[in-house]
Symmetry: C2
Subunit: 294 residues, 2 copies
Amino acid sequence: MIESQPANAPTIGVFDSGFGGLTVLRALIEKLPRARFAFVGDTARLPYGSKSRRTIARYAVESAQFLVREQGAEYLVIACNTASALALDAIQDAVPVPVLGVIEPGATAARHASKTNDVLVIATDATVQSQAYTGACRAQGLRALEKACPLLVPLVEEGWTNHPVTEEVIDIYLNELRAEAWLRGLNPDTLVLGCTHYPLLRPLIERAVRPGVKVIDSAEATAQVAAQIFNGRGCPILAEPAAADSVRVGGASIEVPQTEIRCFATDSVEKFERLGSRFLGRPVGKVELLDLGG
Amino acid sequence: MIESQPANAPTIGVFDSGFGGLTVLRALIEKLPRARFAFVGDTARLPYGSKSRRTIARYAVESAQFLVREQGAEYLVIACNTASALALDAIQDAVPVPVLGVIEPGATAARHASKTNDVLVIATDATVQSQAYTGACRAQGLRALEKACPLLVPLVEEGWTNHPVTEEVIDIYLNELRAEAWLRGLNPDTLVLGCTHYPLLRPLIERAVRPGVKVIDSAEATAQVAAQIFNGRGCPILAEPAAADSVRVGGASIEVPQTEIRCFATDSVEKFERLGSRFLGRPVGKVELLDLGG
């Protein structure tokens, strides 16, 4: 029999402003099924996408400190593009453990995917305004063009992930982005999904991009980097298959590893439990209410 | 020459989770151009629409106390349907001045407008879940059917107030609402806009409702009630015309009363200044940053 978690399995803390980051947790579980995970969704104060750097940093540091001090996280993944873009340094300064954001892994994956070295990035307002992807891509020798798509998160949360209106909105945004790329003389062959809600729209987005354009999911790219780091630290066992349970999601029966996950939300625990499974691809189970006092 | 504010003009405090409540402030200025106004938009913690009653009440009370204690407000208008629905009692308990929400005035206006006594209400998730409009309408002898329309706020904030996608989304929501009304044997002739963002969609919504259906704007209805209260208190001068300035909004020159307005936001002051004029129908001027510590 396969044990789920080795006795000394480290706890990986995963943080998001809401439950979108569960797409990152899902990818992490796939790569590291035998680690332990503690997830915080700061649902009382979401969305971060329309807030200032100062406010976002203050909020993100509080959640990061909870994960390290109270949950014993030995490693932190910031599963929120906006917080990664605007608060990674502040979080790193505030906790004594390594911190991985989603921006750099996304940019690295784009470099591997792109032949033209021109990439497009879609994200929230605050992520785009931070130009964090532009900077991370430039450091990889890529030219990036970013666009804010503020309607996509509400469309996902409305459950319209396969809806004609969503298709139309994606077309409008991507057409505007392509026109802008053309004006700037770019020849993009790669599109980065710079928001953790967007993987749920991946089928629609892949239909909307031109043939040959590769779609990069920062969630997957981040999990890949995290797995490499733990392998490099002599913890390859974390990536070995864990015992699995059979669970029902959306009417279908699927096998999910028996990975130890604790989920916390700062508000709307029921909504988190109800909607979270769409993002995690499995039931999120019991979500604990966390008061960060904000 | 007409003086703008009488020396003893009272300060009316107006509170919203964001800048949508500026549609209520706009209606208040029209009815009471010679009062003073202090407005708080709790932009650091918006949207309230997806948060729990406990969290909303805590946030709303902090803003209300600031308006009364620091700005000397002698009267409070809660220009936020969600806060009116979930926190009116908590606010009334926390401050020593009269507090007016937007729900009851909306229900009263619906009673005056409706002949069938069946009304429809569109609002945010939290407002609908609170069933505050259903209760307020029942107290007026009306049957109300409520529907959450979570995409309309982001569409307004994207600036798509006259866009085919918005038209399509409104049609989808209203068709679902009409089907539900039909199933329940209702014959609605009135639609209440139960969110302060929705007045910006009024032209599209009026095109989408059936002929003969009246559209009620809670913002206007609330300003009407506030004006009646101040007239009843022997302050009819507040409703008299004030001196006016000529300002440019959206390329057109309009006359606006020289009403004294102070605007505060808990975050994203620049965004407030930029987008607020759409809601207020005039430039919002300098917005002051307010730290409520949350």
